[in-house]
């Protein structure tokens, strides 16, 4: 796709991108000197970006063409053998994402003005929000893998800064560090994926990569590894199964931050990436994605049930919902996954801001301290209730539409490949559990009797600047899914669009065979070491990747209806149970907790992931680094300059290592020199006799050597 973006669109997109960055720069240098510490400036700038975003969105709505895409590309690094460019790709998906990021970011800016009023680093906080918005918008707009990676890491940086905003608390700085490092591990996988693609295809641009995939230049296991590699990035950023541990700790940051980053935008980046690069995932890769998503969804939902901290509960709910979206994409439900991304962004942001306003009022995050706030905080309660209804998938609200589509897609996938029916079933259960724990939160926080009189006394409704965003989000949570505009605009891309070479359709079995042909003509022999564990299902069932086989369209429709019915049932059951446990207190949560104590402990300890990682990953690296240091100071240094250095008072292992190995090597090079020196010096006895003896002796030896050799 040549650069066919009209000039005015280019300017407005670049403006959208750079305004928050300008905000960041100004805040960092002159923030404190501005009136009201410049919060109006940042909010204003993100506001303008939002308006421009809405204009662009309306424009795409106007065109209303699924295949709509405009692109512009500039050269960046060109050193002969290596060429990289930077560019903007604007299609329907980008428009939607601009809208979502813009709205949530703007509302969070507004909310923060109230929430962080009087904070010691008030202006710097808005600066960080600015750079976050810039990175997130950049990530959404970029048209090549390298730019994606650049913005990917910048988003990681801004989350580090924002989580660690109140760095006086050790837990906050630990959480920030943990977030950055965990996502970085994911980024390693992503970079490896990028390297594989670049090494094979020589380009980073999405369109050129899709074209190459379409032409079959790359395929089979190499493409799968690249896909899995890129997906690792998503695992890290969207807190999927192995690397999800950082998200709950990230709640240390201010609540608006959690709302913005850990609900709506940043964590969604992973889903967006899978969506954007959908075409290069081979069936095997898609299966891996599906199962990872599934495990995450189920696990997170189970943990959310037992959480007492409101923000932790919402965090685990987010992880679970993300698992939902990832599974959707995994089973081929492209539109379903991205649709859920949008709707989830709105109602989860609302939930977080709601909890923020509650915390702001009650000054505690623990649900046991709350209860009965309905009367004290009506607006917060009603908006919170709307969001909970949406997330539980109550028909009519946005959540229902997107979650239903996901269940439909997974059922269709399950029906086609019977061995994968488990996906649909578990998703269904999770839907129910979601409804249960969300309503548990509502009951514990807003309904029932206030458990802490003193806090309840001075609880009060949040000021307007905080409630307005709540209401706006509530409206969006309800209405954003109506009208089916999303399904029309965001349609699953086909490889065909990108096939450049006039390849005769006689390609054996169209895409069908391509997965199997598995021509391994990749010049690069790849023995990448991504562990096989990730590779869920070896025998590669091909899904109906590309659309077009209309024969079983009817089957999809039927699956859709079944899914809708079952999802409503599940939601209802969940709400009922929550009401029984916490509303009417018919069953006491206490007894259940006692009887299933083991399970409860396991869940409350979050399956001991944190402990395993702390001992396993962090512990071993620190131990290896201490061993490296000891090795460096004793053996390498000791051996070379031969100092007889005693490792006193060192751990038993190092001590053992020290006595056995180092004593042997203690007289290193310089050591021998000084030792020789001492020996030779002794023969210099100062007595003349020995001199003469020495003289003749050595001369004689030399003579004999020569005689014997010579003749």
């Amino acid at each position: 796709m040549a650069t066919n973006m009209p000039a005015d669109m280019v300017t407005s997109l670049v403006l959208i991108l750079l305004l928050p960055l300008a905000g960041f720069a100004i805040q960092m240098f002159f923030g404190t000197r501005l009136p009201r510490k410049g919060d109006w400036l940042s909010t204003g700038l993100i506001g303008i970006s939002l308006v421009l975003g809405i204009v662009m969105f309306i424009r795409t709505l106007g065109v209303f063409d699924a295949g709509y895409a405009r692109q512009v590309h500039w050269p960046w690094i060109d050193i002969g053998g290596f060429r990289v460019g930077m560019g903007i790709l604007f299609d329907n998906l980008t428009a939607v994402m601009l809208m979502v990021v813009g709205i949530v970011s703007f509302l969070v800016h507004l909310f923060s003005i109230g929430y962080l009023h009087g904070d010691v680093r008030y202006s710097r906080y808005f600066g960080y929000l600015g750079i976050f918005s810039f990175s997130m918008l950049g990530l959404v707009l970029c048209d090549n893998l390298l730019a994606l990676y650049v913005f990917w890491e910048l988003v990681g940086l801004s989350s580090y800064l924002l989580i660690g905003h109140w760095f006086e608390k050790k837990s906050a700085s630990d959480a920030a560090k943990k977030a950055f490092l965990t996502t970085r591990i994911g980024d390693v996988g992503m970079f490896i994926g990028i390297m594989i693609l670049y090494a094979k295809l020589g380009t980073f641009r999405f369109d050129e990569i899709f074209a190459a995939v379409a032409d079959g230049e790359i395929g089979g296991s190499l493409l799968t590894w690249a896909g899995v590699g890129l997906f690792c990035g998503a695992i890290g950023k969207s807190a999927q199964f192995p690397l999800h541990v950082w998200l709950p700790d990230a709640m240390e940051g201010p609540t608006p931050v959690s709302a913005l980053i850990h609900a709506a935008t940043m964590v969604a980046a992973g889903v967006y990436m899978v969506g954007r690069l959908f075409l290069l995932f081979t069936p095997e890769a898609l299966l891996v994605i599906a199962y990872i998503g599934l495990i995450t969804a189920v696990m997170a939902a189970s943990i959310a049930i037992v959480q007492t901290d409101i923000k932790k509960a919402l965090a685990y709910s987010t992880i679970s919902q993300l698992g939902y979206m990832i599974t959707a994409l995994g089973v081929g439900g492209y539109t379903a996954g991205l649709f859920h991304l949008m709707t989830h962004a709105f109602f989860k942001a609302l939930l977080f801001l709601g909890s923020g306003s509650v915390i702001h009022a009650v000054h505690s995050q623990e649900m046991p301290d709350m209860g009965g706030l309905r009367k004290k905080m009506p607006v917060t309660f009603w908006t919170f209730l709307v969001a909970t209804l949406a997330i539980s998938g109550v028909p009519g609200l946005s959540g229902f539409f997107s979650k239903d589509m996901i269940l439909g897609a997974s059922l269709a996938f399950g029906m086609e490949h019977s061995s994968h029916l488990i996906i649909f079933l578990l998703l269904l259960v999770t839907a129910g559990v979601t409804a249960f724990y969300m309503f548990r939160v509502v009951f514990l926080t807003f309904l029932g009797r206030p458990r802490d009189e003193e806090r309840y006394a001075h609880a009060h409704e949040s000021p307007a600047v905080m409630t307005i965003p709540l209401t706006v989000l509530a409206v969006l949570a309800v209405g954003s899914a109506w009208g089916g505009w999303f399904q029309a605009l965001v349609v699953k891309p086909e490889l065909g669009q990108y096939r450049t070479a006039a390849v005769a359709p006689a390609v054996p079995g169209g895409e069908h065979g391509e997965a199997h042909a598995g021509e391994h003509h990749e010049a690069v022999h790849d023995e990448t070491t991504i562990p096989d564990a990730l590779h869920a299902d070896p025998e590669g069932h091909e899904t109906h990747v590309a659309g077009g086989d209309h024969a079983d369209h009817g089957a999809a429709h039927r699956a859709h209806q079944i899914a809708m019915i079952t999802s409503i049932l599940a939601a209802g059951l969940g709400i009922l149970l929550a009401w029984l446990f916490y509303g009417r207190r018919l069953f006491s949560a206490e007894t259940v907790r006692r009887r299933l104590a083991a399970v409860h402990l396991l869940l409350s300890k979050k399956y001991y992931f944190d402990e395993i990682y702390a001992v396993g990953v962090v512990g071993t690296t620190l131990w290896v680094s201490r061993a490296a240091r000891a090795f460096d100071t004793h053996v390498v240094d000791g051996a070379v300059n031969g100092t007889a250095w005693r490792a006193r008072g060192f751990s038993w292992f190092i001590g053992l290592f020290d006595n056995t190995v180092i004593d042997g090597m203690v007289n290193g090079v310089a050591g021998t020199v000084t030792a020789w020196g001492r020996q030779f010096r002794r023969i210099q006895t100062g007595k003349i006799q020995n001199y003469l003896l020495g003289l003749v002796a050595v001369a004689l030896i030399l003579a004999f050597v020569r005689l014997v050799r010579g003749f």
Partner: protein, 101 residues
């Protein structure tokens, strides 16, 4: 007729005796005697070669010069020995090891 090797053997033995004397005696003067033995052995060599091998008697001239040098050397050596004797009342070479290492 006395073969050349006869003289050479005597010279060689004398040389070795001189060397042995130098190495084993602790008295500086005895060492000087050892040196004289060595010089004498060299002279015997020269004269023997002048007689048996060389076209002319240049060996004799060399021997004369060696004898003169031996005298000069004895003079210098004794002067130094006596000087040292005045300092440390003994010329036992073993004690002359203040500088070492």
């Amino acid at each position: 007729m006395i073969p050349l090797q006869g003289y050479l053997v005597i010279a060689a033995v004398l040389f070795v005796l001189g060397l042995f004397c130098v190495m084993t005696r602790r008295n500086a003067v005895t060492i000087l005697m050892g040196i004289e033995l060595i010089l004498n052995s060299a002279n015997v060599n020269f004269i023997a070669f002048a007689r048996y091998c060389a076209p002319d008697i240049q060996g004799h001239v060399f021997a004369i010069f060696v004898i003169i040098m031996a005298a000069a050397e004895a003079a210098i050596a004794l002067a130094i020995v006596l000087n040292l004797y005045k300092r440390i009342n003994s010329i036992d070479v073993d004690e002359v090891d203040m500088m070492r290492g």
